[in-house]
Symmetry: C2
Subunit: 283 residues, 2 copies
């Protein structure tokens, strides 16, 4: 990574030092950015300070975040909505306010209502896996990852440019997208697969089937079930509107398989499996 | 693989030269077994003969399979039931009759009704992936794989011993299990994950979402959707009895997530995701 430290991003405050916030802090710190850090879990902040990743702990006075050039909220979606509301009054001097949540409509709308729509640009980096927390954070997490940037109705060009600079600095690839379009798309590409994997894990747990009894295929299907509960509870609630029809479709397709197998309709089952395989092989 | 060729397994007839039958033929042939081969697709038999894997094509006279020491039916489950019935009259001199299907109750019961229960032992090797066909077959596919052996009510000790010898010869690990217990177990550990992955693929296809838009997690969940349609149509129909309650549980767990997210019940959602994660991390 060879990036010059932009003059307008000398200090960045990161609110939440989990997998995403912690990894962002590590990368920015490695580039010479002065990182201010806060987390509801003070031990994480201490660990980040000890690691030389956070230079300025905000534990005793979180509102000092308002002095940073950019403020990043890296906590679960519903918590981010609350923090944004709490901090809005002191964020006037920040040139960029952003987040890292997997849903974008509600936080973009919140920034508009709170009067910080000009400085706010929503971010969603497609990085991370089923691990979570500061201990899982690492340098290079965002390398070559797509990051969706979702403007408010009034985001300034300056804020858009700084958001792009911030993510490019950690080697991610920013892509601008409308917030509602983003949420509709992620409901299908990410939130539905997560809900399905978790529901399958719950089914197997209920029937007393340990994961060790599954073959490689079954283990693939249930891998996402290891994801962070706090993060995903918030995502499902915040994107319920877009996810509800996706889950309904999933239930209908399961019912279609069930119906064909109960009526021993071999042709219909072959057709369904072939349709799924064609989709799988399309790319 | 260092195994002596057992005197009682000089010739083995393999009916069906797809991924499983083809791979079995390759391994047995490498051990010096005389392999007789048949497939509904004659091109596969020609390819297997050309590869030196099948020594004796049964295309012109499949009933000569009755002269082999052991006969293995390696076709989709419902096709195996039909073939077993067609061949039963000429299988009297075989010391072992077996199959490779993912469901075991119906074929074990069929062997009993057809009067070949003494020579029959059902086999289910846990090998293979979403690839299929002769072209995907390879030596070593069964190395270290579990193989469930499901006896009939009258399987002879000789047949049990030969089945165990056959699979050990290709480096698999035989394990004896009751057929109904097998099917109940596989409904959960294999058939439900497959149905879920396929239903998710069908949902995403329906919403016009290409697989390329999914992240690594979503790609994991949909990997099994690439599985062979003919094989899986038969498995679902044959194990509908055991799979039906498993699908019902899956739908109920999806509905539980749906309910909690619609009512914005963050505690309940966190509890559900945490339960799934605990199951995931248990092993």
């Amino acid at each position: 990574m060879e990036h010059e430290l932009p003059a307008e991003l000398q200090t960045v405050a990161i609110m939440g030092l989990g997998l995403i916030g912690g990894s962002l802090a590590r990368d920015l710190s490695a580039h010479g950015v002065q990182v201010m850090g806060w987390d509801v879990d003070e031990a994480r902040v201490r660990a980040a300070v000890d690691a030389g990743v956070v230079h300025d702990s905000l534990v005793d006075d979180p509102l000092r975040a308002g002095h940073a050039d950019a403020v990043v909220f890296a906590v679960p979606v519903l918590a981010a909505l609350k923090l944004l509301s709490d901090f809005a009054p002191i964020l006037e001097s920040a040139r960029l306010i952003t987040d890292v949540g997997s849903t974008k409509t509600s936080i973009v709308r919140a920034a508009e209502s709170l009067g910080i729509g000009t400085q706010f640009v929503g971010s969603h980096p497609l990085a991370g896996d089923h691990r979570s927390g500061w201990d899982a954070s690492r340098e290079g997490l965002f390398a070559d990852a797509r990051v969706f940037l979702c403007p408010t109705s009034s985001s300034s060009g300056d804020a858009m440019r700084l958001a792009s600079t911030l993510w490019t600095m950690v080697d991610a690839r920013p892509e601008v997208m409308d917030a509602e379009q983003h949420d509709a798309r992620l409901a299908r590409t990410s939130h539905l697969p997560q809900a399905v994997s978790t529901a399958l894990a719950l089914s197997l747990a209920q029937s007393g089937t340990p994961r060790a009894e599954l073959g490689p295929g079954g283990r693939d299907v249930t891998r996402l079930a290891g994801s962070d509960p706090g993060m995903w509870a918030d995502i499902l609630i915040d994107n319920a509107h877009a996810l509800t029809p996706a889950i309904a479709t999933m239930v209908a397709r399961l019912a279609g398989l069930q119906r064909a197998m109960t009526t021993r309709d071999r042709d219909e089952l072959r057709r369904l499996f072939a349709e799924a395989r064609a989709w799988h092989q399309q790319e």
